[in-house]
């Protein structure tokens, strides 16, 4: 039994230490934003944030998460109150089939927390591990720029929403 901190809540998990985080998120905690794509850490669909960094949850066993904070897309915002990154992806219509988008948003979120005004080049380089088969790459890049602007203005307003831990 171990304690897993996800989206600000502690969960008691009864699983082997080599269980991938993705399985626990989806099967035990019913947090289905992170997707199973390749299971090999090669596509990025399973990306979540661990202690501020984008991590591939399909190749991250529970044993690596002791004492760490996991954030999934559900922890950023809701349908009623979407986080800036979610609003930006909707406003730019960045999703086509949408399978890769949760992972894209999580990696972009980690980038924006570290670098609030990334250049086009930095966004491209950062998102390189995440694959999109539909081809909405240009919209995704625009959405990340838009999210940067939204976060910038959100910080100025007292009711700033959706900042990850």
């Amino acid at each position: 039994m171990m304690t897993l901190k996800v989206n600000g809540h502690d969960h008691q998990i009864d699983a082997d230490p080599d269980t991938p985080l993705l399985y626990v998120l989806r099967d035990d905690l019913k947090l289905n934003a992170a997707k199973f794509g390749c299971g090999l850490g090669q596509c990025g669909a399973c990306t979540v944030i661990v202690d501020g960094k984008a991590v591939l949850s399909c190749v991250t066993p529970l044993i690596l998460l002791d004492g760490k904070q996991v954030t999934t897309l559900e922890g950023l915002g809701t349908i009623e109150a979407p986080a800036p990154i979610q609003r930006a992806f909707m406003e730019e219509q960045a999703a086509q089939c949408g399978y890769c988008i949760a992972g894209m948003m999580m990696r972009a979120q980690a980038l924006l927390q570290r670098n609030p005004k990334p250049s086009d080049e930095q966004i491209r380089s950062e998102l390189e591990p995440n694959l999109c088969r539909c081809g909405t790459h240009m919209r995704i890049i625009r959405a990340v720029h838009r999210a940067a602007r939204l976060m910038d203005s959100a910080e100025l307003s007292p009711a700033g929403q959706g900042s990850a831990q």
Partner: protein, 439 residues
Amino acid sequence: MTKPRIIAGIAIAALIGGAAAAFAVIWRPAIATVEPAAPQSFDPALVKRGRDLAALGNCNDCHTMRGGKAFAGGLPVPTPFGTIYSSNITPDPDTGIGRWSEAAFRRAMRSGVDRAGHHLYPTFPYDHFTNVSDEDDRALYAFLMTRPAVHATAPRNDLKFPFNHRFVVAGWKLLFLQHGTYKADPAQSAESNRGAYLVEGLAHCGACHTPRNALGAERTAASFSGGDVENWQAYAINAKSPAPLPWDTEALYRYLRHGWDPDHGVARGPMAEVVSNLSSVPADDVHAIAVYMSSVFGAPTQERLRQANEMRAKIKSPPAQAAQGDASGASIYAAACAPCHESGRPLPYGGVNLGLSTALSAPDPRNAANIILSGIRPVAGERSPIMPAFADSMTDDQISAVLKYLRSRFHNQQAWPDVEQTVRDARHSQTVLLQRDKP
């Protein structure tokens, strides 16, 4: 003449003689500048040949900044003596080699002296390039002179005293620069001799794979016994090779030509650029290198073949016993490594069975630590290997635990000393590298 005057006379004569000798060793004349030749004045077939030779020589690797313009130089090369920046070898007349004549270019290749007569530091491997034929130098010159000129001045070298004085290099050459180290061996096939000419010359394999002495010269008595290149280990590529399965001509050819071999895994680290270049040159030349290097490795001993067969059998069966060491290493391996490395998917997209990994049978875990931290980024537009980076999901202690587990699970050699320190150093140098690479 009094005695003191005789002594003074001898001393002065010795000083003059010494100065003259030093002058002869150090001083090299400038070679007159030429007007940059028009690109169309070069024979296209010669330019094409030069292009292949430049790829065999891996010239772009040092003479191009990551993401920068080809051959414009400026790449920092860390050495034990300080940092040296590669020079601009585009035909720019002011900052490149546009005003160099072919004779000046040939002298640089053969003797490490630039057009103006300055000694070049041996990070430019003229101890190998001295073996390059006039004909090949001519083709390389034609190729470089037809590249786009880039106006770019490399930063000043940052070297410790006395290495910041170029005349020191003259002394170095006196000690270590030997001309004509390649000679065709009539007892060997033409193909093997062709391979030897390339390996000992332009391809300068020993520059990384031969250990260096305190003055930074290759220890020729230990040729191909393994060396250091930046924060990577260049493995021994002779009888001392730590590879779990012995190399032969065909395996070497596949690895050098395609960047991976099913019995040995993929090329990465500084070798990635080498194999990328070798994928574009005439196949015959790569095969010739493989033939020659296979003779450098030598035929495997009976004992080596027995161990190889044992390993082949071992990787087909599940581990007979739990490996020693921390259980956390086994858990990390099961979730983070095994999905690819035990999937049996073919290279380069699947991972090599780690029983075959030279990184794990090598004398130290540097390369394995580097790869776990930074992964392998696929090359755009190429069929290339891929592996996720674990720097952000594993601590140094966790990486150390998995390295110790892998060493004991897959290899019978003694445990590595100081794995934790190696991982810390690797993370530090990777961070520096990533910062350098970021636009």
